[in-house]
């Protein structure tokens, strides 16, 4: 647990740097679709640590991203807080929702919530309609983020590695 307190912030900081620096490489700029790798980490923490861990790490990660982006401070913090909290509902013994496609499902749900909050609020006061926001931004970004989260499924787990060594 103590190790996690150090590990998670470091991972989040690294991902925030990646998100701000290199995400354009994998973003579908023409379609305005950007994956959110920080959100994937927040969801992961939420499933692993529960509602409190997910919401607290989500809040600070979102706030830092907000500050770095400088346009709409507090919006990502709100979206990540809620997403991290919802991800906390999927915390189970044995981390069932971190394995296989369960994680993709949780990521999709939490991404939808996050994108809905973010783009929903961001588009208020603009000429973009609600349906357009949902179709062009919320679903697309959530789907793309979920696809990117498949990377986690590729990363071998410690238990699997240990089992492999013993075999």
């Amino acid at each position: 647990m103590r190790f996690n307190i150090i590990k998670y912030p470091i991972i989040l900081l690294a991902l925030i740097l990646l998100q701000k620096s290199f995400i354009s490489v994998i973003a579908l700029s023409k379609l305005n679709i950007t994956p959110d790798i920080v959100l994937i980490a927040v969801i992961y923490i939420g499933i692993k640590e529960g509602k409190i861990g997910g919401s607290v790490y989500g809040f600070f990660a979102g706030l830092l991203l907000d500050i770095l982006s400088g346009s709409f401070v507090g919006l990502l913090a709100l979206a990540y807080t809620v997403s991290g909290f919802v991800a906390g509902f999927f915390k189970t013994e044995g981390d069932r929702f971190l394995s296989k496609y369960n994680f993709l499902l949780v990521t999709f749900i939490c991404s939808l919530i996050s994108c809905f909050l973010y783009y929903g609020l961001y588009s208020r006061g603009t000429s973009t309609g609600f349906a357009d926001v949902m179709l062009l931004y919320v679903f697309t970004s959530a789907t793309y983020t979920t696809l990117i989260s498949m990377v986690i499924l590729v990363i071998p787990k410690r238990k699997t590695l240990e089992r492999g060594f013993t075999d």
């Binding site: 509602k51 979102g62 706030l63 401070v73 507090g74 913090a77 709100l78 961001y122 208020r124």
Partner: protein, 276 residues
């Protein structure tokens, strides 16, 4: 207390979530861009609608506070009105006194009544003017309306006067219209009676009664009262009831006329009475 602690512990996740959301919203609303302006407008509109709906429900605590405030204001205003009325009445009285001062050629001392009795057979008033103000026994006490009484006792700063409603008072009076003479006295009950008026005398209700020049105690011509009732006392005399010009119930200020009985006249009349 323990139960509350347990409830808080059970809800800690939601409490933390709420706190974080509040912080996020605080940061959001600290921004100043078009989206936030729009959200603020929506929030204010929604809040205003809800609030206007809630105003229909009376807030007991606010009403209590408002009632308390209104009561305090009411007391203050009532007090102010009372003071204003008092000032107005005082102004009227003083204006009359000022006119009286200008009209009356006799010098006088003004005084305020500090005590009075009206329910006895020998009623008096105490005035806050005494020998230090050159007030002496037998000086007439008057008001703007007319004769009030006579000084019967003096101290350095106070004096006592018999008023018309005193059985010891005997005043020589006359009708202003018909010049009929009589003696005014208090019957000890409720009435001022003008005695020694013959049945044939021309006196009717409404006639003004004034002090007579036959009196050595009072200057002539001071209004005493008006005739309100006439009837037969016996075969010879009339019963004439007088309503005094002065309202003793509301009397507050008086003047003591610096008029003393003529000593030569008094001595002469007294010596003549002794010889008889």
């Amino acid at each position: 207390m323990k139960r509350i602690g347990l409830v808080i512990l059970d809800l800690k996740e939601y409490i933390i979530l709420t706190v974080l959301i509040i912080f996020s919203l605080y940061f959001i609303f600290s921004n100043d861009n078009s989206q936030i302006r729009f959200l603020r407008a929506v929030a204010i509109g929604t809040f205003g609608t809800v609030q206007s709906g809630l105003t229909a429900i009376p807030n007991v605590f606010e009403l209590q506070q408002e009632n308390k405030l209104l009561r305090e204001t009411n007391i203050k205003l009532a007090n102010e009105i009372s003071n204003l009325k008092e000032s107005k009445l005082e102004n009227i009285r003083l204006t009359k006194l000022l006119n009286f001062r200008e009209e009356n050629k006799l010098s006088f001392v003004s005084g305020r009544i500090v005590n009075k009795s009206l329910v006895q057979t020998r009623n008096t008033i105490t005035i806050n003017a005494g020998e230090a103000d050159s007030v002496f026994i037998n000086m007439p006490v008057v008001t703007v309306e007319g004769l009030a009484g006579r000084i019967v006792s003096t101290g350095r700063n106070y004096s006592i006067a018999n008023i018309l409603y005193n059985k010891d008072m005997r005043i020589t009076v006359k009708s202003q219209r018909t010049r009929i003479d009589g003696i005014l006295m208090y019957d000890g009950l409720q009435n001022l009676i003008m005695t020694n008026v013959l049945k044939s005398a021309d006196l009717t209700a409404g006639d003004l009664i004034i002090t007579s020049e036959y009196s050595n105690l009072f200057p002539p011509g001071i209004p005493v009262g008006t005739v309100t009732e006439t009837g037969n006392l016996d075969n010879l005399f009339k019963k004439v009831v007088i309503t005094p010009a002065v309202n003793f119930q509301t009397l507050e200020e008086v003047f003591i006329l610096k008029h003393l009985p003529d000593k030569d006249r008094a001595d002469l009349e007294n010596s003549y009475q002794k010889k008889k």
